[in-house]
């Protein structure tokens, strides 16, 4: 449909105040969203995409201001409207689906009260009508037992259910525009797909336009008619999704496409050579897990089986991936392997030793062989230590070496992980996410372990940074002969780095085998669900049919 676009942003610039300085984070952004259209605003953290979206709904943080430009809703510029006037259109004509459903609902008020509130704010007075509309909405977004849900509190619902509630709030008054700010980040892939399907379905039903803010090019490619790629507060490129993906014009969009694991299905990693021996010997494996079972006691006296009979073998110098969604038991499994938890049943051999038989001093020495890299590089580094102290600390715990020698080890590791020595004196907060994760990897390597357990180690990173860290891990494995246990919910990443995979679902191992077999011939229906939920497939298919020559 041509004519006036529903949303038209013209030459928008936004600044944030820090102390007494204003720093501009959005520079002259212009874009249109037509009626019924989905436009995806794609970029990495710090690209200005969220700020742009917040400006549209008039909810910039307190230290933000619109310097110039127009935000026209159906032809009327609302960018200069006072907050009070915007209150009338927020919720009614423009609504928001926020990121992080975990903290987006008031913890001490019922679901029903929070959904009903938007109706109350916009003039509904009849309590019975509100209550029945709330139940209707909750049912519409696919929640079972909507009457019960209305009486429940947010902490009694799962992340996916909470996001459905937030969608119910967003569509309650059938707005013309929904701003969806990373609506599925932090959700499991299968849940993510169902949530995005729901948004699509409701959008079609109500004819709503969607401004979809996402860092995930795969999600954007699947769901949006048009893409707007942002970097450093500026639009790098925009265009119809299929055309942009098939033939990106800007260098930045090309890099983003190349780094997005979900879109690039070609395996760039050289698989590790198979041993020539005919029969496997126990010595070929760095870690052997046999029939691992772990029960947790419950408050009512019963037990909850978090891990139920998991077995796999980790061949030296290769990568085995544990894949599963939240609650699949992968965290408990790795905590048992590194010796933080005592399993209820089963056997774990690391480098030929049964860790159940180890006692305190032995367990400490054992920890040298196997080191962890955690998911969140922001939380796993002590903010009061500098880079040198962080990497040095494990050495101090184990052997008394001369200070010079320690410094040499730390410096050579810094070179190994591709960080400049000038960073040695820096505190973690002065580093980027990718640099921090490199520091965490260096800290794990300083004791020269045989096995690295990587717990969602690249999940919190932007795609280009993620690609660099994966490349680093690959090099380290080849050069040092390391063995990786790679834990992830992201199958696309797993395919790039792993040699073999175990798929976990509710504590059980539903599938295990070489990575290519799992991807091409999955035997369990759960694995097939997981594979189908990887975002970016439909978008890529569309692009490939559009320009067959561009298939790399």
């Amino acid at each position: 449909m041509s004519g006036t676009p529903l949303l038209s942003i013209r030459d928008l610039s936004v600044s944030y105040r820090e102390k007494d300085d204003w720093s501009r984070v959005v520079h002259g952004v212009s874009l249109d969203v037509h009626r019924g259209e989905v436009v995806a605003l794609v970029g990495e953290s710090g690209s200005g995409k969220t700020t742009t979206a917040q400006s549209v709904i008039g909810l910039l943080p307190g230290n933000g201001r619109i310097d110039q430009g127009e935000i026209r809703l159906d032809g009327t510029d609302i960018s200069r409207w006072p907050s009070r006037r915007l209150d009338a259109i927020r919720g009614a004509r423009i609504s928001l689906i926020p990121q992080d459903p975990g903290s987006a609902l008031n913890p001490i008020r019922t679901i029903g009260a929070q959904v009903g509130e938007i109706l109350k704010i916009h003039g509904w007075r009849d309590k019975k009508a509100i209550a029945s509309r709330v139940v209707e909405l909750l049912a519409r977004v696919g929640l079972t037992e909507p009457e019960l849900r209305a009486r429940q509190y947010p902490h009694e619902l799962s992340g996916g259910m909470k996001q459905r509630v937030l969608i119910a709030i967003a569509v309650a008054l059938q707005p013309e525009l929904i701003v969806a700010d990373e609506p599925t980040s932090g959700l499991d892939v299968t849940v993510q797909r169902r949530i995005l399907d729901l948004i699509d379905e409701l959008r079609l039903e109500f004819g709503t336009s969607v401004l979809l803010v996402t860092h995930d090019l795969g999600v954007a490619a699947d769901r949006a008619g048009r893409l707007v790629v942002m970097q450093g507060g500026r639009i790098q490129e925009e265009g119809p999704t299929a055309a942009l993906i098939a033939a990106p014009r800007s260098a930045y969009a090309r890099r983003l496409l190349a780094d997005a694991p979900s879109l690039d299905m070609t395996v760039r990693r050289q698989p590790r050579p198979e041993p020539i021996r005919e029969r496997d010997e126990a010595d070929d494996f760095a870690v052997i897990v046999e029939d691992l079972t772990h029960d947790f006691p419950l408050a009512d006296g019963g037990t909850f089986r978090a891990v139920d009979g998991i077995s796999f073998r980790l061949r030296r110098g290769t990568t085995h991936a544990l894949v599963g969604e939240s609650g699949s038991g992968k965290t408990t499994t790795i905590r048992s392997i590194v010796g933080f938890e005592k399993p209820t049943a089963g056997r774990i051999l690391v480098d030929g030793t049964d860790i159940a038989a180890l006692h305190r001093a032995d367990l400490r020495r054992f920890r040298r062989k196997i080191q962890l890299v955690y998911q969140n590089p922001f939380a796993s580094l002590d903010p009061r230590q500098n880079v040198f102290e962080i990497i040095e600390e494990p050495l101090l715990n184990f052997d008394k070496r001369e200070k010079d020698e320690r410094r040499r080890s730390v410096e050579s590791l810094l070179d190994r992980v591709g960080l400049s020595r000038t960073l040695l004196g820096r505190a973690p907060h002065a580093l980027s996410g990718g640099q921090r994760q490199r520091v965490a990897i260096a800290r794990a390597l300083v004791l020269e372990p045989q096995v690295l357990v990587l717990d969602e180690a690249v999940s919190a990173l932007d795609v280009t940074v993620q690609a660099q860290v994966l490349k680093l891990l690959d090099e380290l494995q080849r050069d040092l002969g390391l063995t990786y246990l790679f834990v992830s919910h992201d199958l696309a990443v797993v395919r790039q780095i792993a040699d073999s995979v175990s798929v976990l679902h509710r504590g059980r191992q539903v599938e295990s085998g070489p990575v290519e077999q799992i991807f091409h011939a999955p035997t369990s229906s759960y694995t097939r669900d997981l594979l189908a939920a990887i975002p970016g497939r439909t978008g890529v298919e569309r692009a490939r049919t559009l320009s067959p020559g561009s298939d790399r």
Binding site: D87, S95, S103, I108, I121, A299
Partner: protein, 314 residues
């Protein structure tokens, strides 16, 4: 729930017993005792033998263990013994002094809450940024004022200079104004600090943004979503503040010459009147235990996350 309550009451009894025993031991460890302090006074002109007889009549010559068991038995049967200094039952002393202190404490607590809210709201909603930051400094100032100094300053300023409040033969309510203010100011400070910090933290929570995105005005979002969430942690420090309240009462009643538990405690410490001190310690422990229990029982009513799980999905 009832099982929880029973275990909590059991814990409370242990706490009370410990408070009683500890205070008994500490009082015994002090050199001298109340009988000696009172009757060694040369005005009585008593001989060593006579004092020894009096001590025997109070049971002060028996072994510590026997005294302890005797005192514990009496307390269990509701008998707190006699004040050696005043010569009346401790129970009577408590009954005479309790109402005045309760009135002072309740009014002071109320005033502290009002003051804390006023400071917090002004620091959040005041129109000018300089005014907001000026008000935000107040709690740190309040918390660092010593109670005795504040009391004397208030008398100096409001009674002697401005002559607004009379301190010589004041009316029953007039007499309370300055003592209440003296206790309220330092108690309001931690409340206001916690409230301000929580309001700021909660205001930046995503659910407040969601409420605003529904079209809620700033004020609506504040009253409906921010305030109640910010109030929850303040409840937890109520027990600690009650301790401050009692400490404040001791100083304030002394400075303002009021009768009450505070003044009674002050005198009893001076005279090593063990029975009175034991009773005051027990009274404070009971009050503490009751308030803490009340806070623990009230918290789940205000915060659904603290209620026991009702088959929620993981």
């Amino acid at each position: 729930m009832s099982r929880y309550l029973i275990s909590r009451i059991g814990q409370a009894l242990v706490v009370l017993w410990a408070a009683f025993t500890l205070s008994f031991v500490l009082l015994q460890a002090l050199p001298g005792d109340a009988v000696l302090i009172k009757f060694l006074n040369p005005d009585f002109g008593l001989s060593q033998e006579q004092i020894a007889d009096i001590r025997a009549s109070y049971g002060a010559d028996r072994s510590v263990t026997a005294q302890y068991l005797h005192a514990l038995g009496n307390v269990l049967s509701g008998d707190f013994g006699y004040s050696i200094q005043a010569g009346v039952p401790v129970r009577q002393l408590l009954a005479e002094n309790l109402p005045a202190t309760l009135r002072l404490a309740c009014l002071a607590f109320l005033a502290a809450v009002v003051l804390a809210f006023a400071v917090t709201l002004l620091s959040t909603f005041a129109t000018f940024a300089w005014l907001r930051s000026a008000i935000q400094v107040l709690p740190s100032l309040f918390i660092s004022l010593p109670v005795f100094w504040l009391g004397i300053m208030l008398i100096q300023i409001f009674s002697f200079r401005l002559r607004l409040v009379s301190v010589i033969n004041p009316g029953p309510w007039e007499a309370l104004i300055l003592p209440v203010a003296t206790i309220a100011v330092p108690i309001s400070a931690p409340l206001a600090q916690i409230l301000m910090r929580n309001l700021d933290a909660v205001a930046h929570q995503p659910f407040v943004t969601v409420a605003r995105a529904k079209g809620a005005s700033r004020a609506f979002a504040f009253w409906r979503h921010v305030l109640r969430n910010a109030l929850l942690p303040t409840l937890a420090i109520a027990g600690v503040l009650f301790g401050e309240l009692l400490a404040g009462a001791v100083v304030t009643e002394t400075v303002f010459g009021l009768n009450g538990i505070g003044a009674l405690t002050h005198k009893a410490v001076g005279n090593q009147d063990a029975a009175v001190l034991q009773a005051v310690v027990l009274f404070c422990a009971v009050a503490f235990v009751v308030i803490t229990l009340f806070v623990d029982l009230a918290s789940p009513l205000l915060d659904p996350r603290l209620r026991s799980k009702t088959g929620a999905p993981a």
